[in-house]
């Protein structure tokens, strides 16, 4: 029985039928495999997925620091998304709402009689007390059911208080996971925020203006990327949305190139900005030393500017020099270890590269809420059949904005870059980097996690807080790749060392060797009685 079969063995009937297509064994690198994904979870399986609200408010909108995001609903949802995701932000002017949680704290009467008045009043109070750049409203489960028209409230408030006010109907039950929420958030940002300043596109030939998309600045990753990019000579117009601001997003259309870090959560915006502003995007990866180098070179290649290219190599050399000693130390310590990674969108892919930098092979990987293209590459997108849950999520179409349209990249250059495997308007997916008997699980659950741990016995397993303590109880070190175990940044060169150090400490902490009481392995009657005897 191979690993996949062993995992599926316990399932019967409908669960087996469902889960078998979510588990894929990758025998050989390069051989295409299909995986079921972005479909409803099986009720009763202890999964790690969150909901639509979590994707919209928790992931995409939450990091905007100058915006009051009001959770419209009972208290819980706003409470749980308060200060827990480590999307760091630093407002030079102190106008930082990241440390706050705003909610309408709906009560029974509001559920019965409707919450629109309460929401309107809450917006009023938010504007009066906090004077934010914008107010955003995210609704939670009951709101859709009781029929609160949050768009109407937002429109009224916008007019009355003279402040941008945007509503997101991201009720938890929508879609099948956080993924629906990303999409809804993307749509809202595209419709109302991105480019809304309508400033002109700089016309000089050579500007190196970037947006970083799908970078939420967990543990300061975004800051580290900005540091490197600025050092090379790029200008970062906006980050979506780590340490992001409403203000910056309104100017995002002026960038020359969009870098897509987390493909899953933000590819919608990348595509729509391409359509509307003709801004090219490339899939990047700042996680991992070699990946960061590759990414930096590809960006330089995109701009094809000698100064930038030279500076890129200088910065790479400088950064490598700084980490050389520690890189060597941790590589020696970690080479030959194996790992499992179960995380949200793109990290299960990204971190395989970083681990490989230190000689660690990933033998199990899975996504929580990815789509097939995240596994198999964007080439499968035309083949993906949308099910009912996904169809319910609004798809918006944008039109080219002739006034703010960027000059197109030369077609020949585009093809040349693609030929060089630069992921321009493309993401290859995780599978192409795996194989060799490793296993991939989509929407992994508690039971399956236990099972693969038993089968593969990895040296370390990266997941989230809900799994972490279970994994460790089984004797396997586990670090959280959602929150970086409160460390970071893990991005780029220095970040890779921080990651390696944490991994090394987790694997080598002496407690692992003491888990079994000595009297369980040797009788106390044979136990040594101290090293010395006074007798």
């Amino acid at each position: 029985m191979d690993a996949r079969e062993a995992v599926l063995d316990k399932y019967s009937g409908r669960v087996f039928k469902n889960r078998k297509d979510h588990i894929v064994e990758l025998d050989e690198a390069g051989v295409p495999k299909e995986i079921a994904s972005n479909s409803r979870s099986v009720p009763g399986l202890m999964i790690n997925r969150g909901c639509c609200y979590a994707g919209c408010k928790g992931v995409v909108l939450g990091p905007l620091r100058d915006t009051v995001v009001i959770t419209h609903g009972p208290i819980g949802c706003g409470y749980y998304t308060w200060g827990t995701r480590r999307n760091k932000a630093d407002a030079p002017d102190g106008r930082n709402f990241i440390q706050y949680s705003f909610s309408t704290d709906m009560q029974e009467t509001d559920i019965v009689f409707g919450g629109m008045k309460k929401l309107h009043q809450a917006i009023k109070e938010a504007v009066e007390i906090f004077q934010p750049k914008a107010v955003m409203i995210c609704s939670t489960c009951p709101i859709g059911l009781i029929g609160d028209d949050i768009n109407a409230v937002a429109a009224t408030a916008e007019k009355e208080f003279g402040i941008t006010c945007i509503a997101y109907s991201c009720e938890g039950y929508k879609g099948v996971s956080q993924s629906a929420g990303h999409h809804i958030a993307n749509n809202g940002l595209m419709k109302r925020v991105i480019g809304s300043a309508k400033d002109e596109i700089p016309k000089e030939k050579k500007t190196f203006r970037l947006n970083i998309l799908g970078e939420y600045n967990i543990g300061g990753d975004g800051w580290e990327q900005e540091r490197i990019l600025k050092k090379i000579g790029y200008e970062v117009v906006a980050v979506l949305t780590g340490d992001g601001s409403y203000e910056a997003l309104t100017h995002a259309h002026t960038a020359n190139l969009n870098l897509v870090q987390c493909h899953r959560s933000i590819n919608y915006i990348a595509e729509m900005m391409k359509t509307k502003y003709n801004i090219d995007w490339i899939k990047v990866n700042f996680i991992g030393i070699d990946e960061t180098i590759r990414t930096l070179r590809e960006i330089a290649d995109y701009f094809d500017d000698e100064t930038i290219k030279k500076r890129t190599e200088e910065v790479i050399a400088e950064e490598l020099e700084e980490i050389a000693e520690e890189r060597e130390f941790y590589r020696n310590k970690l080479t030959g270890k194996t790992a499992g990674i179960f995380v949200g969108g793109s990290r299960s892919h990204h971190y395989q590269h970083l681990l490989m930098d230190f000689g660690v092979k990933t033998v199990i990987a899975g996504y929580e809420f990815a789509h097939r293209d995240d596994y198999e590459g964007r080439e499968v997108i035309p083949d993906i059949k949308l099910d009912a849950d996904s169809k319910n999520i609004e798809q918006i179409t944008v039109e080219p904005d002739q006034q703010l349209f960027h000059v197109a990249l030369d077609k020949a250059r585009f093809d040349e870059l693609r030929k060089k495997n630069v992921e321009l308007e493309y993401y290859k997916g995780m599978f192409k980097d795996m194989g060799d008997g490793t296993i991939t699980i989509d929407d992994f659950n508690h039971y399956e996690t236990e099972k693969v741990l038993e089968i593969f016995k990895p040296d370390i397993f990266y997941s989230g807080i809900k799994d972490k303590y279970m994994i460790m109880k089984k004797g396997v070190p586990s670090n959280q790749l959602h929150s970086y175990d409160y460390s970071g940044p893990y991005a780029c060169f220095k970040g890779s060392i921080t990651f390696a150090r944490n991994t090394y400490l987790s694997i080598s902490t002496p407690a692992w060797n003491m888990m079994t009481p000595p009297w369980r392995t040797k009788s106390t009657l044979e136990g040594t009685l101290g090293d010395e005897n006074y007798a």
């Binding site: 949802c77 407002a91 309460k118 938890g172 303590y469």
Partner: protein
């Protein structure tokens, strides 16, 4: 100057609708915690899968333990057609794959708004022989996580507890929404006296389990189903937490005609005295010398160190009975509560707080239910305190206002070990005294000029 929580203005304006930085969360997470205190029980969240995810995360962050729970994974379709089908599938799969003895279902704002009739849905389930499914209603838009905790207890009682003509002589102890370390200490005290008790729920042994390399989805701790059944024949219930344990106490009366006595959390001297005397009265067992000695040691510590607490102004935030308990001990130490705030909306909190403050002649304390940490922060900006006690969410206020901060209550997400250690009982009070004393004395040392740094204190 840029500081933590810089957007919080000193001027307090009335808010009727906007909740900012809440001091409570929703019912279901309390229900989940209560169910985790039952042996071989799988808590089940009947709603969208985000709820379950958030609640498990919340509990794992506080306890640094796995928090098992399943979800009905509502989709948009379930909202239209009701969650019955999802529940049915879920229950089958849970028993198939995770094999608990009992599934404890709690609702969410979604299933409540839809109007799922859980009684009916459960009646229609095919439940394997010897297995159980029970439920409670925990609408997130009423009360708080504390309410949900009580409701889940009531759910268990309602389904399981059996009325008995003859008492089994046991004392039921409802520990309230406290840590495993507290429940452990409550049991230690009862054991010391030789009292026969049923602790319900009991997360000591489920949410503080050892690491051995062999993960047990159902650790050996937790109140057994049989014990919950027997609660119906208990001699009497000590319902700790005059707000927290009210709902289950009323339920056991209604269902099984068992009387309960409401007691404050045994935090500090008098509340622990009350708990032990009640145990003693009900069981006929004497309070042991061991416990009396601990009491005397606690008082000795209080007397010895009184100068460091005396007249210190303290702000306390947290769950209602926890705040009341902490305030009681602060008053016993000679401190002056200045703010007592809970997010849970229950005016009984305010009433009990005022009675307690009156007893100690403290007249300028602001005690509020249904409050939030934004308000607490604003209040502290207007009139400062010497010490802040609360869960992790208070840490930003502590940093912003540069106030010594003691973590106590729920949730503590940024420290370790706390959940193993008691705040209840005389030993728990010693620990609290040490935590508060150290916080105050560390601050004195920090702020001391070099010439004033004391070697003896």
């Amino acid at each position: 100057m840029k500081i933590m929580l810089d957007m919080t203005p000193k001027t307090i304006t009335e808010r009727k609708s906007l909740r900012v930085n809440p001091a409570k969360t929703c019912q279901p997470v309390g229900a989940m915690y209560a169910a985790l205190g039952v042996h071989r029980c799988m808590p089940h969240s009947h709603g969208s899968q985000g709820c379950c995810s958030y609640h498990r995360t919340f509990l794992s962050r506080h306890f640094k333990e796995p928090a098992i729970a399943t979800t009905s994974s509502f989709s948009e379709g379930a909202c239209v057609f009701g969650g019955g089908s999802n529940l049915k599938k879920a229950v089958k799969n849970i028993f198939d794959i995770y094999n608990p003895d009992i599934i404890a279902v709690h609702t969410t704002c979604l299933s409540e708004t839809i109007g799922d009739d859980l009684n009916a849905l459960i009646r229609e389930l095919e439940i394997p022989q010897g297995k159980l499914v029970i439920h409670t209603n925990t609408p997130s838009y009423k009360g708080s996580h504390v309410t949900g905790f009580g409701n889940m207890m009531a759910g268990f009682i309602n389904y399981l507890s059996e009325k008995s003509a003859v008492s089994n002589g046991k004392i039921g102890i409802f520990p309230g929404f406290v840590n495993p370390g507290d429940m452990h200490e409550l049991k230690r005290m009862a054991k010391s006296m030789g009292v026969k008790y049923i602790m319900f729920p009991d997360t000591d042994g489920t949410m503080n389990t050892p690491i051995t390399g062999d993960y047990q989805m159902y650790p050996k701790g937790g109140t057994t189903i049989d014990e919950i059944r027997q609660l119906g024949g208990a001699k009497h219930i000590l319902a700790l937490g005059e707000l927290t344990s009210m709902i289950p106490a009323m339920e056991i009366k209604k269902k099984c005609d068992v009387d309960s006595t409401a007691l404050p959390y045994p935090i500090g001297v008098e509340a622990t005295d009350k708990f032990l005397m009640s145990l003693s009265k009900l069981s006929g067992k004497a309070i042991t010398e061991e416990l009396e000695e601990e009491r005397g040691q606690l008082l000795d510590i209080m007397v010895d160190s009184h100068a460091y607490y005396g007249d210190k102004r303290v702000a306390i935030s947290g769950d209602p009975d926890t705040v009341l308990g902490l305030a009681a001990f602060c008053l016993e130490l000679g401190m002056k509560p200045k703010y007592m705030l809970t997010g849970t909306p229950d005016e009984k909190f305010t009433k009990l707080a005022k009675e307690m403050l009156l007893k100690y002649g403290v007249t300028d304390c602001i005690a509020k239910a249904n409050a939030d940490l934004f308000e607490l922060h604003q209040l502290m900006k207007n009139e400062a305190v010497d010490l802040l006690i609360g869960g992790t969410h208070c840490k930003q206020i502590a940093k912003a206002e540069d106030v010594p901060f003691v973590r106590a209550g729920f949730p503590i997400m940024d420290r370790y070990v706390h959940s193993y250690m008691p705040l209840v009982g005389y030993r728990g009070a010693m620990r609290l005294a040490e935590l508060m004393g150290n916080a105050l004395m560390d601050r004195q040392d920090r702020d001391a000029e070099d010439k004033d740094l004391e070697m003896v204190m």
